[in-house]
């Protein structure tokens, strides 16, 4: 692995100073809130207001901000930066496997620990930790090259926004679930008078429009829309990336051929989304946040949205470099990085390893029917697995894990649901198979462009 790029400029330090200043002001407000609400904590046998701990933290942020804003003469000597040892450790630990495991782990943690996470203090600590991590990471040259691209700024913002709204929805859901368990009316049912749309709604819409306009103008002034060299069909950039919102789909190309990753799976996503209201037979949870009343629906949707969509976009945007190789967040995008690709098809494994013979090949000059027969013979195991996955698993699930669902949904709805779930699961399954067995294709018929 290469040495980390040492470059750190005065303008970056200055910009980070403003970020720390913002953090300082946010935490000043938090101290005020904590002073009124948090009470005391025992420290060294003495009662200390929690607010004083936050005040110390805020003061520290204020000093860090001052250090950045006043700056030193030589930015290269600036000390407040991400330690090289940490960067090397992160780079060497990160890879598609650890990234995907981390995102799934986070997803599971959010669901299991929801009652703890939705506490305001916990949320605040997480927000502060992630912002400081981002600020420290920005001192790294290679991190800045990718995350600081104008087109990538909305993705960073989206991460924070998605995290915030997930937190908010769980906060409301946990509150509602507690009320339901205690037999109390929902929060939204308690103080719910009819009010006039003018002025209450119309004015808040107006304020919202003004704020959004102001944000867009400020954003447009600070960041210039990207414009690269004039188009040239002769010069292919490496990596060539689709627009950022399709990078999750482009990432799927690692595991599936274009006809699956680019056509079939996206179509299934859209069909699946449209089918949701017709396969969700649960009448509860209509018009309010809840988790306990819709555990399966919400977990499935969150799994599809957070690890399989948002996290894959992050992976495709920030961590995939030249030749679509994986690069750690602080790693230089080296065009010459080599990754060994020694993936094997199921058919190769079956004929070479298990049967210890050559692959069956139709004799030269044989007619079409014979050739088709030989291809099917060659790929029989993968074909059987695929057919079994789509045809045997649904009825099997109907009598085992989804028995209650099947009874309540009826045949047609259940088949739609189970097939959608199987298609959704096909991506993580293929990922795990690739990582653990170097599996390339389950069915490999390049003659017909039919690789799964």
């Amino acid at each position: 692995m290469l040495e980390h790029h040492p470059d750190l400029t005065a303008s970056v330090i200055y910009g980070l100073g403003w970020l720390y200043l913002l953090l300082f002001l946010m935490n000043c407000a938090w101290v005020w809130r904590s002073y009124h609400q948090d009470g005391e904590v025992k420290l060294f046998g003495q009662g200390v207001p929690v607010a004083s701990i936050w005040a110390l933290y805020a003061a520290m942020l204020g000093m860090i901000s001052t250090a950045h804003l006043t700056g030193s003469n030589n930015p290269q000597m600036f000390l407040l930066r991400m330690p090289d040892a940490f960067k090397s450790a992160v780079d060497s630990l990160s890879g598609p496997v650890s990234f995907f495991s981390l995102s799934v782990g986070l997803f599971v943690a959010v669901i299991l620990l929801r009652e703890w996470i939705v506490k305001p203090t916990v949320g605040w600590v997480l927000l502060n930790a992630s912002l400081i991590f981002l600020a420290l990471s920005m001192t790294d040259y290679d991190f800045r090259q990718i995350v600081g691209k104008p087109d990538n700024v909305p993705i960073v913002a989206m991460l924070f926004i998605c995290a915030y709204f997930t937190w908010l929805s769980f906060a409301c859901a946990v509150e509602n679930d507690k009320r339901k368990a205690a037999g109390k009316p929902l929060y939204s049912q308690e103080k719910n008078d009819k009010i006039l749309v003018w002025p209450d709604l119309v004015y808040s819409e107006l304020i919202c429009m003004v704020l959004v306009t102001a944000l867009l103008v400020a954003w447009g002034i600070v960041l210039q829309a990207p414009l690269e060299e004039p188009a040239s069909s002769a010069k292919t950039p490496n990596p060539s990336k689709a627009p950022w919102y399709f990078l999750g789909l482009q990432e799927m190309l690692v595991y599936y051929d274009p006809w699956m990753a680019g056509v079939v799976l996206p179509s299934m996503i859209l069909v699946g989304l449209m089918a949701i209201p017709y396969i969700d037979f649960n009448k509860l949870g209509n018009g309010y946040y809840t988790f306990n009343e819709r555990k399966f629906a919400i977990s499935t949707f969150l799994f599809g949205f957070l690890p399989l969509w948002v996290a894959m976009i992050v992976l495709g945007t920030f961590l995939r470099g030249p030749n679509w190789n994986f690069f750690g967040p602080y790693e230089y995008w080296d065009v010459h990085k080599l990754e060994l690709l020694n993936n094997v098809n199921i058919s190769e494994w079956f004929w070479y390893k298990v049967m210890n013979t050559k692959m069956p090949v139709a004799p030269a000059g044989s007619d079409q029917a014979t050739q088709i027969g030989y291809i099917l013979l060659r790929e029989w195991l993968g074909l059987v697995i695929t057919v079994a996955y789509l045809a045997v698993l649904p009825p099997l699930m109907a009598v085992t894990v989804f028995r209650k669902f099947f009874v309540r949904m009826g045949f047609l709805r259940f088949m739609v649901l189970s097939n959608l779930i199987l298609f959704m699961a096909s991506l993580p399954i293929k990922m795990v198979l690739r990582w653990s067995f170097n599996l390339k294709y389950i069915v490999a018929i390049p003659e017909w462009f039919f690789n799964i």
Partner: protein, 257 residues
């Protein structure tokens, strides 16, 4: 009599606004019923139905961003010519020379923001179970609007005609040639032949239809320009109208029963 009262008492003012200023309860009701733009809303609404922590305001912001895109987009159309000769230079001029060239920045950032707000709007509609009966079909329309938003953004991505643009579109549209049956590298395409003559070639498949050629070129620019500025916005406007109408007809903003 003050000038303001004189204006509000004039025949012209009264012909435009068919009601006195909405300062009392009666006229706050009347304004909602007589104003074309406000009649999308009901007259009164449940307090919690419009609570920010409930709606996140994301649907409204998405619609507002669509309006921003329309306005800035129309302004940009005055300066931008979708031909290989001019496209890139016009964008360059917007950046460096043209007064209010910031319209391009606002257009691009609002487009990114709109993609995100659409997702968040769907996220909250899902999490509140608002797609459940009687609102099933409005969710379906919403999914169509999501697709069209992504297509709007995708078609617009090509128009600056820089390296970023054509290669993003090349990568994206390469998928189309693997469409089952309809792409010349897709499974099943070989079956579509008459007497050994292939119907699906790289000059007749789904990708060719999308690009208007075998690669991203002038025909593609023209095609994407018209899709971006005329065809898709018209469909989106129609679906938005239906979406809003259905919100009202399906019982307004969802609430606990």
């Amino acid at each position: 009599m003050s000038v303001g009262d004189y204006i509000r008492g004039s025949q012209i003012w009264k012909s435009i606004f068919r009601h006195p200023a909405p300062v009392d309860r009666r006229n706050r009701v009347v304004v909602m019923l007589t104003n074309f733009f406000l009649h999308l809303h009901p007259v009164s609404i449940k307090q919690q139905g419009i609570a920010l922590s409930y709606t996140w305001c994301m649907g409204g912001i998405t619609f507002f961003l669509f309006l921003v895109e329309t306005i800035t987009g129309v302004l940009l159309m005055f300066y931008y010519r979708p031909t290989l000769q001019f496209a890139f230079n016009d964008i360059l001029a917007l950046r460096d020379v043209t007064t209010l060239g910031i319209m391009r920045e606002i257009h691009r950032w609002a487009a990114h923001a709109m993609v995100i707000t659409v997702w968040l709007h769907m996220y909250r509609v899902f999490l509140t179970g608002s797609y459940k009966p009687p609102r099933e079909f409005n969710w379906v329309i919403g999914v169509l609007l999501l697709v069209l938003t992504l297509l709007l953004s995708f078609t617009g991505y090509l128009l600056p005609w820089d390296q970023l643009a054509i290669w993003a579109i090349t990568v994206g549209s390469n998928m189309a040639r693997a469409t089952p049956f309809l792409g010349y590298e897709g499974p099943g395409a070989q079956l579509l032949n008459i007497g050994g003559f292939d119907l699906i070639t790289n000059g007749s498949d789904a990708r060719f239809l999308l690009l208007g050629g075998r690669f991203v070129g002038e025909a593609t620019l023209n095609r994407f320009y018209i899709l971006h500025c005329v065809a898709i916005p018209l469909v989106v406007a129609l679906l938005i109208a239906i979406h809003f109408w259905r919100v009202r007809k399906d019982g307004g903003i969802s609430q606990p029963l």
